[in-house]
């Protein structure tokens, strides 16, 4: 596809890489937090719920700034991780972290809903048949929530692809390093004659977002069929 220039390709590929890792790494945490919120009652549950949803409500610039303060080289967490060779500031890993944080609420919501659709009586039945809690989760709960997990992952992936505000605040806009689709569109719009490139990237964004939404819709329908088929 030669209608896209090398800089545009670079932004697309970086975005896909950032979104992929953001989704993959946050998925286990997403499942754990969704399980906690769907199934457990504990002190401070409202607080955890609020924290998870905060990135959805806060201005993305604020989220980005908080990430910078926390995970920057001089931040309390960033300073601890730096000697271990883990650096987020102004790296693609930072873009992935920002994307993961921004997509997390969407992911948790989708997975939490599918947890709530699973009848705990099925899990009880599995335990009477000899399955320990670990095996109950692996053989009954997980298969039943799987479509919801996939839907949540797709949503988070789509969100990560389009993330702009938190990313540019946290890791800036370095071509080849942290310049994702959205930042690239923004950059092209700032330079004279960049509209063409911006428009092409806009088209790519629309296609990717629509594809992700359709996939998520399809998976949501499957969870309904599967969990409701008892």
């Amino acid at each position: 596809m030669d209608w896209l220039g090398p800089a545009e390709w670079q932004a697309i590929i970086l975005s896909l890489k950032v979104a992929f890792w953001a989704t993959l790494v946050s998925l286990p945490f997403g499942i754990a937090v969704a399980h906690l919120l769907a199934r457990r009652d504990f002190a401070g549950k409202a607080l955890v719920n609020g924290l998870v949803h905060l990135p959805l409500i806060l201005p993305p610039v604020v989220t980005g700034y908080l990430l910078l303060v926390t995970f920057g080289v001089r931040g309390p967490v960033g300073g601890l991780l730096q000697p271990l060779g883990i650096v987020f500031a102004f790296r693609w890993t930072g873009a992935a972290l920002a994307a993961a944080v921004m997509g997390f609420p969407l992911m948790v919501r989708a997975i939490r809903l599918s947890f709530e659709a699973v009848d705990p009586k099925l899990e009880e039945a599995a335990s009477t048949l000899g399955a320990s809690r670990f095996w109950v989760f692996l053989t009954v709960t997980l298969p039943l929530i799987l479509p919801g997990v996939l839907a949540g992952a797709v949503l988070a992936f789509a969100k990560a692809l389009g993330e702009f505000g938190a990313t540019i605040t946290f890791v800036s806009n370095i071509p080849g390093q942290t310049q994702t689709l959205a930042s690239a569109i923004y950059t092209f719009l700032q330079v004279p004659g960049g509209e063409g490139a911006a428009l092409r990237l806009v088209a790519v964004s629309v296609v990717l977002a629509m594809g992700a939404l359709l996939a998520s819709e399809l998976l949501a329908r499957r969870v309904q069929k599967r969990v409701g088929g008892a």
Partner: protein, 359 residues
């Protein structure tokens, strides 16, 4: 192998305080809803941790509050047949059936899938999904799944309550076959199910055991009507003699002929027949010119008045002890009392097919 259960558990205002022994066969926990039956079974399953007590299957202690023993559910080696089946919707019938086997200890007695599927008549369903099954089919698969986990005890919590009469009649024979294979603790509020299945009956009322013993003995006691006098009825043990061309079957109970609507069992089979108390009429003299075919001479054992106008009379006949539900007024008019000779009249067509079962 016998099961010994002693449980004390308070939940709000409700106090469950029950102790009993369940010998081999089917032990039915019999009582109205809210009497603590399900709580008791869930305690045996480990789905609920009682405040105090001890539960043991044979010499395996599942729970002992004094010794601090509480085996988690998955290590109790039980089979639990729930009221709603609870099949795994994402697995095929075959995978559902084999689920418990993945977790059964290696040395455990292995039930064979083919034999169990055949016994339950589900061979043709193995590749289907639970969502495609009828209520009766689901319940048979649930029974098979519990059995294939090689359990030391099967728990069944009103497994027929969600089914219509025809489906109930379809499932009951399978429990009768299971009776010989593994001890079963069966929860029910249906007198017909108790009469049909129970080896032992444990009557629960408000969280307490008010009566326990062999089914025929407990059900023939007019004092035991945990689900109301309307459901009272005694069990007769009978042998099929022959099937007549007019649609009746001739049975023999304690040397007395008994005519019932055609039963499914072949001549020579031993049966238990539940005779509902409201289908028995009492007469002091031998009735003449009556359309009823079954007239059994006997002697009143006990008359027990209830709260309403009715009374339940137990009568010892040659065929066994029967219960009759009459009005108190007739009981007085006839002068019924312990030791009085009378005749019990049973209308043949009154005996429903689901009240006749193998033994």
């Amino acid at each position: 192998m016998s099961v010994s259960i002693r449980v004390t558990h308070r939940q709000g205002d409700f106090l469950l305080d029950a102790a009993f022994e369940a010998p081999a066969g089917i032990t039915v926990l019999f009582g109205r809803s809210g009497s603590g039956k399900t709580t008791l079974v869930n305690a045996v399953a480990g789905l609920l941790r009682p405040q105090a007590g001890r539960i043991a299957v044979g010499d395996r202690v599942l729970f002992d509050s004094a010794a601090g023993v509480f085996l988690p559910t998955h290590r109790r080696r039980l089979g639990y047949v729930f009221q709603e089946g609870r099949l795994f919707p994402h697995l095929s019938v075959r995978q559902n059936l084999l689920y418990g086997r993945w977790f059964a200890p290696k040395g455990a007695r292995r039930e064979e899938l083919g034999r169990v599927a055949e016994m339950l008549g589900i061979c043709a369903l193995l590749e289907r999904r639970p969502g495609d099954l009828s209520g009766g089919e689901k319940q048979r698969v649930a029974i098979g799944r519990a059995l294939l986990a090689s359990p030391g005890l099967i728990l069944a919590d009103e497994p027929l309550a969600a089914l219509d009469e025809a489906r109930k009649a379809e499932i009951l024979p399978y429990f009768e076959r299971l009776r010989a294979e593994v001890p079963i603790l069966y929860v029910s509020h249906s007198a017909a199910e108790v009469a049909r299945l129970a080896t032992t009956v444990v009557v629960l009322e408000k969280g307490r055991v008010v009566r326990q013993g062999p089914a025929a003995e407990v059900l023939a006691d007019p004092a035991v009507t945990p689900v109301g006098a309307r459901a009272a009825g005694a069990i007769l043990e009978a042998v099929v003699v022959r099937h007549h061309a007019d649609g009746l079957s001739e049975l023999q109970a304690g040397g007395h002929p008994l005519f019932l609507p055609r039963v499914g069992q072949a001549p020579g089979s031993r049966l238990r027949v539940r005779i509902a108390a409201h289908d028995v009429i009492l007469s002091r003299g031998r009735p003449e010119g009556l359309s009823a075919l079954n007239i059994l001479p006997g002697m009143v054992h006990e008359v027990r008045g209830g709260e309403g106008p009715g009374a339940i009379v137990s009568v010892d006949t040659g065929a066994g002890r029967l219960l009759a539900r009459v009005t108190r007024r007739s009981a007085e008019a006839l002068g019924l009392g312990p030791g009085v000779a009378c005749h019990a009249v049973i209308k043949s067509v009154a005996v429903a097919p689901e009240d006749v079962g193998g033994r």
